[in-house]
Subunit: 234 residues, 2 copies
DNA sequence: AAGTATAATTATACCCATACAATTTGTCAA
DNA sequence: TTGACAAATTGTATGGGTATAATTATACTT
């Protein structure tokens, strides 16, 4: 791991363990550089990383301060695979509806930039929060990049499997959100009525080389799901 | 303006004007540094800026590439006050319902960290896209930071007034999103029925010194509004 | 004594130069 | 076709400056 990442991680741990909150001041950059035995620019990069994750903010001429913690119960769209994890304070479970290898339709081929006859893993899950249905998720993974999946893996976090075991790093992602309607089957999974609204989020995840490898369509329970996101300085 | 901002702006212009699209390769960092007559560090910072705005992505060992343009018709939550602007390809108009100076309730006082007897501007607008109602917006501006507003200003973009005239820069912001329901008055403004769903977004905007100065609650028309956002590398 | 302007100090932001590391891509030989 | 190697390109780390905003201390005035 790189120095600035290691430092950022340690600083984050320090903040969490000491339960620092909104407005608490951190040592100056010079002191931090001294403390962690790195150069000024490296500590700056570490703090920038924490800043981009919404953990601290910096004020020129004044110092570096801790940002208020996010409200609980909100799905964090900013930090999907970052320091905090999604809704980690709650008990998340999954029912796997379907997992199979398929040759997908044109739409998916286009989105994932698949070549002729390339296949994908199709995964359909219903995810619960504290045993209440939260969302229906349909995902397509390019099999060239994700060569193997099984029920065990998809029962838990697919992303941590990708990161920890396959050493796949996500570079960036696109999210599209709108309001949809539930059909009968979907309503059944979410304990709602057909024609009830749903929060539909399409996601496309890209690898470090800029190639898309995962397309997901998630329908969230409109009463259970709340989202948090964060804007940073232009 | 700083060098790296100026360079980023020029590079962005170049990308837009030459209509570069997904996967198009930019010159190497060395060449760009040469071209714009800045150091390698500065060009790196400029490219990082473009990257964080979702305009380009970088692949180590390979080069810098243009990201695909976002779908049209989506409110860009990533880049609220950045290069692209919100829905600038559409005709956005506003009806000002109310603009007044008030002493707000406890909730607002808490969120905006107001001192005893500090007042705020309260602004209520209905915003239309291509003459169709898009959202109802209620905003509270801390009068200590936004000393003056009038109907003319709020008819247009409040943010560009803040940036260009008051020299107020936003450091970061929080967004909370959930599904709400419309009451009779709100349904009237949006041409919907009472009890219809709405997309509710709460926003808090913070100044460079970390102080919140604007709290907004927006109810979007659930059929008109679609949102785009973007995740960046962890 | 209290408030106000001014100066000094502190702290982050920006810019530059350099060195080397890590990754991808192209080349060439076996 | 494959593998090894070289070249190209971005990423990381360090060190040194200058600029600018915020804070604190000082001096001054009333």
């Amino acid at each position: 791991m790189n120095k600035y990442q290691a430092v950022a991680q340690q600083m984050n741990q320090f903040i969490q363990q000491n339960n620092l909150s909104q407005g608490d001041k951190l040592p100056t950059l010079n002191d931090l550089a001294e403390e962690y035995q790195v150069s000024k620019n490296t500590i700056i990069k570490a703090v920038e990383m924490l800043e981009s994750h919404g953990i601290v903010y910096q004020v020129r001429g004044s110092g570096t301060y801790v940002r208020g913690r996010h409200r609980k119960g909100f799905v964090n769209l900013t930090d999907v695979h970052g320091f905090q994890g999604i809704l980690k304070e709650f008990n998340l479970t999954s029912d796997v509806i379907e997992l199979k290898e398929i040759e997908p339709d044109e739409n998916i081929v286009e989105i994932l930039k698949l070549k002729e006859h390339e296949t994908v893993y199709y995964l359909k899950r219903v995810r619960q929060i504290e045993s209440r249905p939260l969302c229906i998720e349909e995902s397509y993974y390019n099999k060239s990049y994700v060569p193997y999946l099984n029920e065990d893996i998809v029962q838990n976090s697919v992303f941590s499997y990708l990161r920890n075991d396959l050493k796949i790093d996500i570079n960036f992602s696109d999210f599209f959100m709108r309001i949809g309607k539930l059909n009968e089957e979907q309503a059944g999974y979410l304990n709602l009525k057909p024609q009830d609204p749903s929060i539909d989020i399409e996601s496309i995840y890209y690898l470090n080389n800029g190639h898309p490898f995962d397309y997901s369509l998630i329908k969230y329970h409109y009463e259970e799901a709340q989202f948090y996101m964060q804007g940073n300085k232009l």
